[in-house]
Subunit: 351 residues, 4 copies
Amino acid sequence: MKALVYHGPGKKAWEDVPPPQIRCPTDAIVRIDTTTICGTDLHILKGDVPAVTPGRVLGHEGVGVVTEVGSAVTSFRVGDNVLISCIKSCGRCKFCKQSLQAHCLGGEGAAGIGWVFGHLIDGTQAEFVRVPYADTSLYKVTDGVTNQQAVMLSDILPTGFEIGVQYGQTKPGDVVAVIGSGPIGLSVMMTAALYGAAKIIALDLDMNRIEQAHKFGATDAVHAADADWKAKVMALTDGFGVDVAVEAVGVPSTFEMATQIVRPGGHVANVGVHGKPVPLRLQDLWIQNITISMGLVNTNTTPMLLKLVAEGKLDVDKFASHHFKLGDMLAAYETFGRAAETKALKVIIER
Amino acid sequence: MKALVYHGPGKKAWEDVPPPQIRCPTDAIVRIDTTTICGTDLHILKGDVPAVTPGRVLGHEGVGVVTEVGSAVTSFRVGDNVLISCIKSCGRCKFCKQSLQAHCLGGEGAAGIGWVFGHLIDGTQAEFVRVPYADTSLYKVTDGVTNQQAVMLSDILPTGFEIGVQYGQTKPGDVVAVIGSGPIGLSVMMTAALYGAAKIIALDLDMNRIEQAHKFGATDAVHAADADWKAKVMALTDGFGVDVAVEAVGVPSTFEMATQIVRPGGHVANVGVHGKPVPLRLQDLWIQNITISMGLVNTNTTPMLLKLVAEGKLDVDKFASHHFKLGDMLAAYETFGRAAETKALKVIIER
Amino acid sequence: MKALVYHGPGKKAWEDVPPPQIRCPTDAIVRIDTTTICGTDLHILKGDVPAVTPGRVLGHEGVGVVTEVGSAVTSFRVGDNVLISCIKSCGRCKFCKQSLQAHCLGGEGAAGIGWVFGHLIDGTQAEFVRVPYADTSLYKVTDGVTNQQAVMLSDILPTGFEIGVQYGQTKPGDVVAVIGSGPIGLSVMMTAALYGAAKIIALDLDMNRIEQAHKFGATDAVHAADADWKAKVMALTDGFGVDVAVEAVGVPSTFEMATQIVRPGGHVANVGVHGKPVPLRLQDLWIQNITISMGLVNTNTTPMLLKLVAEGKLDVDKFASHHFKLGDMLAAYETFGRAAETKALKVIIER
Amino acid sequence: MKALVYHGPGKKAWEDVPPPQIRCPTDAIVRIDTTTICGTDLHILKGDVPAVTPGRVLGHEGVGVVTEVGSAVTSFRVGDNVLISCIKSCGRCKFCKQSLQAHCLGGEGAAGIGWVFGHLIDGTQAEFVRVPYADTSLYKVTDGVTNQQAVMLSDILPTGFEIGVQYGQTKPGDVVAVIGSGPIGLSVMMTAALYGAAKIIALDLDMNRIEQAHKFGATDAVHAADADWKAKVMALTDGFGVDVAVEAVGVPSTFEMATQIVRPGGHVANVGVHGKPVPLRLQDLWIQNITISMGLVNTNTTPMLLKLVAEGKLDVDKFASHHFKLGDMLAAYETFGRAAETKALKVIIER
C-alpha cells in the first residue's frame, strides 16, 4: 500500500510499504478514507521529536472503514465506519480506568503514552492502519456525521475542549482569553460555548487569523503586537482579568501573557506544546489563587463531541480549508506547511 | 495599651499605643487573650514586605473577648470569646461571594486583599485590636475548644488545609508528599487525613523536623539532602510519582522538587511564599496532565476545622511549643526567631 | 403609597398603605419601577400559603431605584438602579456562607428562609419596598440591561438555572427533558444551553405551550397526553433515557414521569412546588444510580446571569407577554390569572 | 467440582457440577480460595430475585488464584492471586467508560447490569468460577493483604463507600447518620472517615448491633426504637440536622427516617435494596435543597480501597465473625442465616 513515510529530518516520501496486519487479538485494521495533517507532523519532519525513527508512517488523525478485526474485538465489525482517536487506550490499565488515557500503560509503542500513531507505531497517512485496542480506541461515526466532520474529532476538537476549556474550568458567564488562533486555539473558542462563556477574546500576532477567529466563536479580538494589548484585554473584563487564559502557541512569551491577564481565582490552561522552560513569576502569582493546568488530550469527550456534531451544535466543517486526494499527500503537506500564506487550517485528504 | 510596633527593618518595640476604636458600624474591638507569631512577621521585620510601614502593630493571629461592637454587627456581642481570622472578609463583594475571601474588595487597608492585620491595619500582637467586618471575620470559639487550640485556626491550619490539601485535590488513597516541615507543612500533614490520604511523605533538609513530622501524620520521611531523595520518594509510590506534591518552603529548588515527583494526572500545590521567579520545565511537564495551584488562604474552612477540633479529631495542641505572657512579647520573638535551635513551632502568647 | 395588599383567601386590593421605613442599618428603601406577578402569588391568593397573613403586601420580584440606605450599607447609594432578588441574604450566617441563601438565618420575617418578600414581610407589588440586608440582597443593574430584562432575574431565571440546570448536573452533550412549559420550565430550557445540552425536550399537556417552547431553546417536543409519550421521549435518546429530567409542574404525576425517563446515572431535578407526597418507586429505582434533587433558589447565580443578559447571550425579553402600569395592578393580575387563555408568561408592571 | 447450587425457593445444595470453562477470549478461570455469603444470597434463596433460575451457582464475592486465561487477557497470568469484583465490567461500553460499571452493557448474563455472578451466571460459592472480562473485573491482591481482607472488597466495602459515603457527598466536618448497622451500614461507618466526617451516628433497632458500630467508626449511637430518636439525632447536630443520612436497611420506614433528619442542603444516600415504593414527602422536602441518591456499586474504588487496606488504614478484618471450610458451605449458610443470634457479620469460607 501507499503511505507517507518519514526518512529522517526534512525527508519524507509517499511510497509503497507493506500493508498492516493484525498482531494482537485486540487489534483492528482500518482502511483510511479521510485523514489530515497536524502541526505536530511538521515538528516531526523538522526532527524535533526524536522518538520518531526513520521508516515510520506519519499521521494520527483519520476516519475509515474497518477491514479486519482481531478475535477479542467485540464492539466493531468489518464494514463499520469509524473515527480513529489520536490516543490509543487499552481500557484496562490504572490510567485508562481513571480517564487518563493520555498515559495509557497498554504496551503498544511505549507504555505510559497514549499517543502512538505516527509516533511510535505506523500512523494514518496511509491507505490502511493497524489500530491497537480497537474496542477502546475507535468510535463509530454516527449517522449524519460526515467523514470530514469526524476527522476533526481525532485530535483538535477534543484537545481544545479537554485541555483548554475543561482543564481551564470554564463555567457559565466566564470571560475566556485564547492566545493563538491556529486550529487548536480555534477549537478552544468553538467549544468554550459548551460551558456558557460570556466572552471569548482571541489574541494573536496575525490580524488575519484574529479576524477568522470571530467565525469560530470569538466575541472580541486583541492584536497581541499592540503595546497596550494587556490594557485592551483588561478593558474587556471587570478590570480584574479573565477567568480562563488559554495558551495555544507553545512559547514562553505567550505563556507569560496568560499569567498576566488571569484574574484572582482564575485558571491558566496550557494547551501549547513547549520546547523549553518558561520563567514562572511565583513572587507575584503565589498570592493570586490561580491554577495552571497542562496535558495531552485523553479523548474521553470524543463520543460527546460526536453527538453534538450530529445534533448540528458544532459546525466543524469550518476547519476544512483545503481538499486533496490521498495520492496528493505531498501537495497537501506543501499547502499545510505554508499556512501563513495559504491560510490553511485543516487540509482534508481523502481516498 | 501595649503593642508590638514595627519601626522599620530590624526594629520593633513593645510599647504604648492608643487603644483601637470603632470606625465603621461593622467593626468590633477584641481584647487579645491569646496570640502567636508567624514566619511572615519575621519577613516583615527584615523589611521584605514594604507595604508594612513604620508604626504598624504586627500580628494576624489571635483569640480574645469582644469588648465593643459597631451598630451593624449582629452576630457577636460584648463578652463573646472569638477567633480572629487572619483574613478580613466583607461578605458582600464579588470575591467574598465566590468564597475567595483572600481577595476581599472591602475597603480596609486596601481593596482586593483579605490579609490586612499587621500588614495594612494594626494587628493582633497587642492588648486590643479593631476587627473590620466583624460579622464575617470572627468566629465564636466553640465550647470545649481552648484559646490555644483556636489560635491555630487563625492562619496555619486553614492555610495548610485549603492551599495544600484542598487545592492539591487530595482524595482518598492518595500519596501526598509535603516538602518542608515547618508549621505550615505540618498543618498540611495533619489535615491530609481529612481526605483519606494513604501515605504522607515528609521531605525536609532538617532531620529533626522530619522526625517531628511523624507526630503530625507523616507516614514516611525522606531526607531532602540525600542524593537519591527522588528515588526514595518514587519507591514509596507505585513508581509513577505522588498524587499530590505540596511545596511548603517558598524557594525555587523546593518548587522544582515538587514538579519532579508528581505523577501524570497529579497536583502540585504551592503553599510557600516566594520572592523570585522559578523556572517551570514546561518542555517536560506540558504532557503530564498536572495542575499547579497556589494562593492565599480564604479561611472559609475555619468553622469546619473548629468543629473537628471540638470533636477531638485534630490534635492542634501539638503545635504549641513554647508559652509566654503578652508582656514577654520580645522574648517570644527571640525564641521563635531562633526556631532551628529552640525547636519552636508556634509560640503561645497569653494575656 | 399604593400597594397590592392581601386580605385573606380570594381577597386583594390596590390600596394606600404607609410607605416603608428603614428599620436596621443594613436596610435600603427601593422605589419600584418594574415588577411582575409569579404563580406563587396566585397560590397565596387561594390561601395555599398560610404563613402569609392578611395585610401583607405581595410580590417578590422587582427592579427600581434606591431612595434611602441604612448606615451600614456600603455597596449601594441613593439613585442606584437595582435588581431585587427574591431571596434576602444576610451574608453572615452559616447557610449564606455555604451559598445556601435559600435558608438564610438572618432574622427578617423568619430565620431559616430566604424568601421573605410578599411572604413574611411586605413585598414588591408596591410603590416602594424595604429591602433587608441590602448589601447582599440587591444587584446593580448593569449598563445596557433594561428593567424588563432585569426583573426576569429576580426569580425565574435563577430558579430555572440553579434548581433545574445546575442541580440536574447538566453537562455538555446531555439530553435534557423539561416537564412543564410555564415560565419556570421555559427558564430551564433557555439556560440549559449554558452547559451545552445537546437536546432539550419539552413535555406538556398544552400543545400551544409546547410550540412556544421552541422559542426558548427546546429542540424537540412531546405531547404529554399521548399514550406513547414515554416511547417518544426514549426515541429521542440512545434508548436508555435522558440525562436530566426536570419536573417543573409540582404534581405527583409529572414527578413520576421524570423518574420513568431518566437514564441510569442520570438526574431528576425537581423544580415544581408540591402540595402532597409522591410515591417513589424505590423498588425499581434503587439500582438505577440516579439522583433526585430539589430546592428553593439561592440566587447566587444572579450576577452571572446579569452578565450574560448584558452580553446578549440570554434573550429574556421573550418572557414579557403583557405590559401594565403599576396603577393597573388588578388588571395585570386578571390577565396573568387567565394565562391559559391570555397566553401570559410574565406580565410586566411599570411605574 | 463442588458448588452451592440454587434449586428454587428454599432449596440449595452443595453438590457436584461441571467445572467452568473459558468461553470468550476475555475470560479467566479462578480457583476460589476464599468466599463469603451476602444478605442478597438469602433473598435469592427466598425466591425474591426471580432472575435467578434453578441450577445457578450462587455467590458474588471471592478471592483466589487464576488457573486459566483467555487469549485476549493481558493483565493477569495463571498463578496470580486475585480479588473478584461483584461487578463485571467490559471496559468498553458507554457506561463502563463513564465509570458506571454497575450498568455495564457487556453481554454476559444480561446487557445493562454489572452484577452477574450468582445471579445471571454461575458464582463464587464454588471451587472454581469463570470470570468474564477478566482484565477489567479482577484485581491483583496486593502484597501484604490477606485473602480474608480482600474478600471484603468484592462487595461490601466499595458498596458502603461508593453508594453511602461518596453518593452522600460526605465532606470534612460532616455529621453522618447511618440507619442500619449490618455489614453494609458498618462499611459506610468505616469509610466515612476517608472524607473526614466529624461525627458518625449509628441508628438501629438492635442495641447489640449499635454497640458493635462503635468498633467500626461510629462516634454516637441512637436507638431507633426510642420515641425521641429524632430529637436525639438532632441534639447531636447544630439543630438543623445531619449533613448526610445513609439508609442501609431497605424498607420505607428507614428511608422516611433519613428524610426527617437531613439538614437543608444535605444528602440522603440510599444504600438499601427496596422491595416496594416509599412515600416521598415532597410537600415538605421540595424547599429543603437536598439530594437523594441511590444505586448499585460500580466497584471503581476497589483498587483505592485495596491500597488503604495494604497501608493499614482500614481494619477490615473486624468484619470476619466466623470461619468455615468450603466443604462446610451449608453450615456457613446456617450461621449467617441466623445472624441475630449468632452475631454473624461476614462468614469467611476458605478452601
